[in-house]
Every structure is written in C-alpha cells, then in structure tokens.
Amino acid sequence: MKQSDEIWSRLTKATRQARDDREIEMPNGFATRLVAQGCRASNLSDTLWERFAIRMVGASCLIALLAVVTHFTFQSTPPAEDLTTAFFQMNDAASIILGEDSNG
C-alpha cells in the first residue's frame, strides 16, 4: 500500500512539472456567435410558448362550444307527458310473448 502511494506521489510530482504550453485564445467571433445563438434559443422558446398558448386557447374554445351543443341537444329531446302515459306506451313483455297486440 505504501509503495503504491509512493509510486503515485512520484508520478504526480513529475506530472506537475509538465507544463501545458497551449495558449488560451478565444476563437474569432466566438462570443458573438454564442450570444446570437443564445438569443435565437430564447426567441425560439418564446415563440414555442406563444404557439402553444394560442393552440390551447383554440382547443378550449372548441371544447366549450361542444359542451354547449351537447347540452342543448339533450335538452331538446321531448319529455314524456306524465308517468302514466309513459307506462302505457311501453310494450308489455307478456303480451308480446303471447302474440297479443298491446295497442289493440
């Protein structure tokens, strides 16, 4: 274990002596490109959000319209005048089986 640590220590000591002589130079137009790209990305996300919002407004209007139409369609079905009439209008199951005419 001690030997491994010594090997590592010798290697890292030598590594620290190796100098990185690469220059730090920003490529031409790097900042301009980057900022332009950032603005484009920001605009794009804004546009996407706007598009989404407009579509959602359209969809909610459509749903509201459908709800209103459905509501009035069900309401326009004529209700039975009273319960007794409704009862006598119904076909009698027993008379159907016996072959009798329920209306006659």
Partner: protein
C-alpha cells in the same frame, strides 16, 4: 492594473440581465480563459474545448435568473463548468480494466521505472508521466477524477475544492479516499502483471 481588476462584473451582470448583447459578449470574453482552464484540467487533450466552452456558456446564460449572488460569479460559473466536465466524462466509456497495452512504449517505460526503481521520474519524462497519470485517473469515477486531480495535481486544499465544486468537505474526503483506494488497486494489478 490587470484586465480582471478593471472589469466591472456587477455592472456587466446587470446589463446582461437587461438583455444587453454587447455586455453578454464582454462577459463571455472575460470568463473564457477561466472556463478553458477548467476544461483543460479535467478533460483529455482530444476533447473539442471550444464546443464544451460553448455548452458551458449557454448553460450559464440560460440559468442566469437562478444566480442570486451568494457566491462570486466566477465560482458559480466554475461549478457549471465542473458539472459539464463530469457529464462529459460520464458520457465517455471507460475501459473495464487498465492494461499495459493501453500505454505507449515510452509511458510503459516510465511506469516500469517508477514501479521497479525508487527514483524520481526524470524531467525529460514529465510529459509521459503526465499522460500516464491522466490515463490512470481516467479509470476512476468522474467525480473522483475531479477530486484527485485537484488534490494531487493542482494541490488545492479541501476548502478550495469544496468552494470550487459546491460539494461539502466530507464528500470531497470520501471521494479522495475512494479514488486513492482504486489507484492502489490499479498499481497492485499492474505490479502483479509485471511480475507474472
């Protein structure tokens, strides 16, 4: 007076937040050397540092609203850079086992000399030692790589690493311990293969 001292960072930040593109360009120019140094320290030479720098700056601008000034802006940016480097290291596939065959002839010679002799590495071999150390470090987990680089190569203190990465001191210690244990294991394996 250096450029760092004359640059009005708080003023620039206000303008950037207001959407001033010229200020954003100035901020990029100001922070570029710091970002590149971080990339070079933590990633191998073959990595396209310009692409990575671009990714880091894009993250910086997109998260600018989250910056509350609790830490200096360069520290905050360095944390973004460190996280991006870790993500990049994670994306690279590690070899399951470190082998002599992974080393160049000169690197193998240096390692052999270090294992068998008790001498220091010759100054002429510093570059090979550098490559060798980076290949060995590449065997560690990305977070452990970062800690061991900062501790053993940059000789930073635990507090500095903690500030730089945003990890607490105990976590840094645990990662350093884990990294050293793995390195010991690597050397043991290499020694065994050398003897065999």
């Amino acid at each position: 007076m250096s450029e760092d001292e004359t640059f009005d960072l708080p003023g620039c930040l206000v303008l950037v937040r207001a959407g001033d593109q010229a200020a954003a360009r100035e901020l990029v120019e100001h922070l570029y050397p710091q970002v590149i140094r971080i990339i070079r320290r933590h990633l191998p030479r073959r990595v396209l540092e310009e692409d990575l720098a671009q990714e880091i700056f894009m993250k910086m601008f997109s998260r600018m609203d989250q910056y509350n000034g609790a830490v200096p802006l360069p520290h905050w940016v360095s944390r973004i850079a460190v996280t991006t480097c870790i993500d990049h290291l994670r994306a690279q596939k590690r070899r399951p086992e470190f082998r002599w065959a992974d080393l160049s002839e000169k690197e193998a010679e240096v390692l052999d000399a270090v294992i068998t002799n008790e001498r220091e590495v010759a100054p002429d071999d510093a570059l090979e030692a550098h490559e060798l150390v980076h290949k060995l470090i590449a065997q560690l987990k990305p977070e452990d790589q970062l800690v061991i680089r900062m501790l053993d190569l940059e000789q930073r203190t635990l507090i500095e690493i903690s500030e730089y990465t945003g990890w607490n001191k105990s976590l840094v210690k645990v990662r350093a311990f884990r990294a050293r244990r793995k390195l010991r294991k690597l050397f043991q394996n290499l020694e065994q293969k050398e003897l065999a």
